[in-house]
């Protein structure tokens, strides 16, 4: 609040006082009062008015400053009326009650959206649970099948499984903290689990080069398996036509463990590299491959952030892609 703004706000008060002064001087002159007493009265009047104006200006300024600091310190700014006392002025009080009502209605709106969101999430979890029944049944059927007719179907089934899992992790991605269990895991076990899970996708599409890995890291094995699975699926999706190779290896660097997943597939445009972790970003490869959802790497990044791992992608178009997950020690 500047002085100019303050004066402008009180312009009606000025006009009123000036008019009163004029009428007063006129009246005193008519009844024959000398100029000197009139001057003294007027100057006292102006002084009192000025003092009052300065006092109220300072008071208002301090009040505004206080309110601003309160709202700045609030994380949820819409809760301002809950932490400030009822103001003194009639005007302010009226606006304050209006604000409270507005806040209440907004809270109701937010709560109902929260409920709807939770319902939807619950439905997705339930749906994943339901769809896992038939999937299990199909996998058992394949296992029992001696004729081999179901073999080609397994490629699709593993894809379905991956999409279902993606949906589950996406639904959970906002409050994943509940479901995270960090403990010491052997990298090779997680990598092998992810490969075995996608064995029909990998077999006959890629050649695998799995280096012996002895490192253990602190992570959540289920999440890590999902992350590695997503990267492996990308390598299958964007493989080159001939001699596709996927190599998985670990390295130790400054006490950090690096897990590298490297393919020689079609690669990523350099201009698209900064955006590959964005939600829904599919890029050129995605547009050419209609099965791209733009969610896989987004989820990988989200989960890695939550786990405290650093995930980076390097590569160039036509030269393959390398995904590196860095596990910090300690």
């Amino acid at each position: 609040m500047t002085i100019k703004k303050y004066l402008k706000n009180n312009v009606s008060l000025f006009i009123l006082h000036v008019l009163c002064m004029l009428a007063f001087v006129l009246y005193l002159t008519i009844i024959g009062v000398d100029r000197l007493p009139i001057g003294i009265i007027l100057s006292i009047w102006v002084m009192v008015l000025m003092t009052w104006l300065i006092y109220s200006y300072l008071k208002q300024k301090r009040h505004f400053h206080y309110l601003q600091s309160v709202i700045d310190s609030l994380e949820k700014k819409y809760l301002i009326t809950q932490v400030t006392p009822l103001p003194e002025g009639l005007n302010e009080q009226f606006y304050f009650t209006l604000l409270r009502q507005a806040e209440k209605s907004m809270m109701e709106e937010i709560t109902s959206i929260h409920h709807a969101h939770a319902d939807y999430r619950e439905y997705i979890e339930q749906w994943v649970h339901e769809i896992n029944g038939p999937l299990t049944s199909l996998k058992l059927k394949y296992e029992n099948d001696k004729s081999g007719v179901l073999y080609p179907v397994m490629f699709e089934i593993e894809q379905i499984e991956n999409y279902v899992e993606q949906a589950l992790y996406f639904a959970r991605s906002e409050n994943v903290d509940k479901d995270c269990l960090i403990k010491q895991v052997k990298i090779c076990e997680v990598v092998n689990a992810a490969i075995v899970k996608n064995k029909h996708l990998l077999r006959n599409t890629l050649n695998l080069d799995i280096q012996p890995m002895t490192e253990t890291v602190y992570s959540d094995s289920k999440w890590l398996e999902f992350i590695i699975g997503q990267i492996i699926i990308n390598a299958v999706k964007y493989r080159s036509e001939a001699n596709s190779l996927l190599s998985i290896y670990t390295e130790t660097q400054n006490n950090d463990v690096l897990l590298g997943i490297e393919d020689n597939g079609i690669g990523i445009l350099p201009s698209e590299l900064p955006r590959i972790f964005d939600k829904g970003f599919t890029g050129m490869n995605g547009r050419n491959n209609k099965q791209s959802t733009g969610l896989g790497l987004y989820l990988c990044k989200q989960l890695c952030d939550k786990l405290g791992h650093e995930i980076t992608v390097i590569g160039a178009q036509g030269k393959g892609t390398t995904v590196i997950i860095r596990f910090c020690k300690g």
Binding site: V128, G133, T136, L140, K146, G148, K197, K199, K222
Partner: protein
Amino acid sequence: MQKIMVIEDDSKICAELSKLLQNNGYQVCFPVSYDSIVTDIENMNPHIILLDINLPVSDGFTICSNIRCNSKTPIIFVTGRKSDMDELSSISLGGDDFITKPYNPAILLAKINRLLQRVSNTSDKYTTLSYKDVLLDITTGRLIYKNHTIELTKTETKIMYCLFSNSGNITLREKIMDSLWNNNIYIDDNTLSVNITRIREKLSSIGLPDFIITKRGRGYMI
């Protein structure tokens, strides 16, 4: 023969699961009704219980704690929910293992086998297999026939194990590949053929030239 009780409300999964377990040499039984599970377990006396969490009358956790009142039968929880909470509750209520749908059947079988071994304190029941006077020792990777012994590599042993455990029937190439991949041996189709050729050479050196029969386009058979 070891008996496994399957407590699962999806009839299709029940049918396929019992087929799988029976093919792997287990006897399968089901509870008569969901209300009498504890008494059914006492009557049937299974060696191991596969318990689904989502069941119509009372959930798997309740059933598990009821069973645990008077029985130490190993319990493997099976669920479609991937959540650490479920896993934690099942283990703390006395479950011995936990597997989520859609599981890899090979992993389920491995878990069952491991639990049964622990309970009965016996070593692996499949350490040696024999067919037509040929003996396959899995732990040492040796094949013995009429005082002759040949050494097999890890991959070759696994391939022979597949053929032996399915002796008299065709073992599909895909099934051999599945079982190799499940054991973290990631080879391609050509490498499988190379391995079969190498096994054949080893077999002929001890006088078994036609032990493995090729079924063109399908698989192998002994």
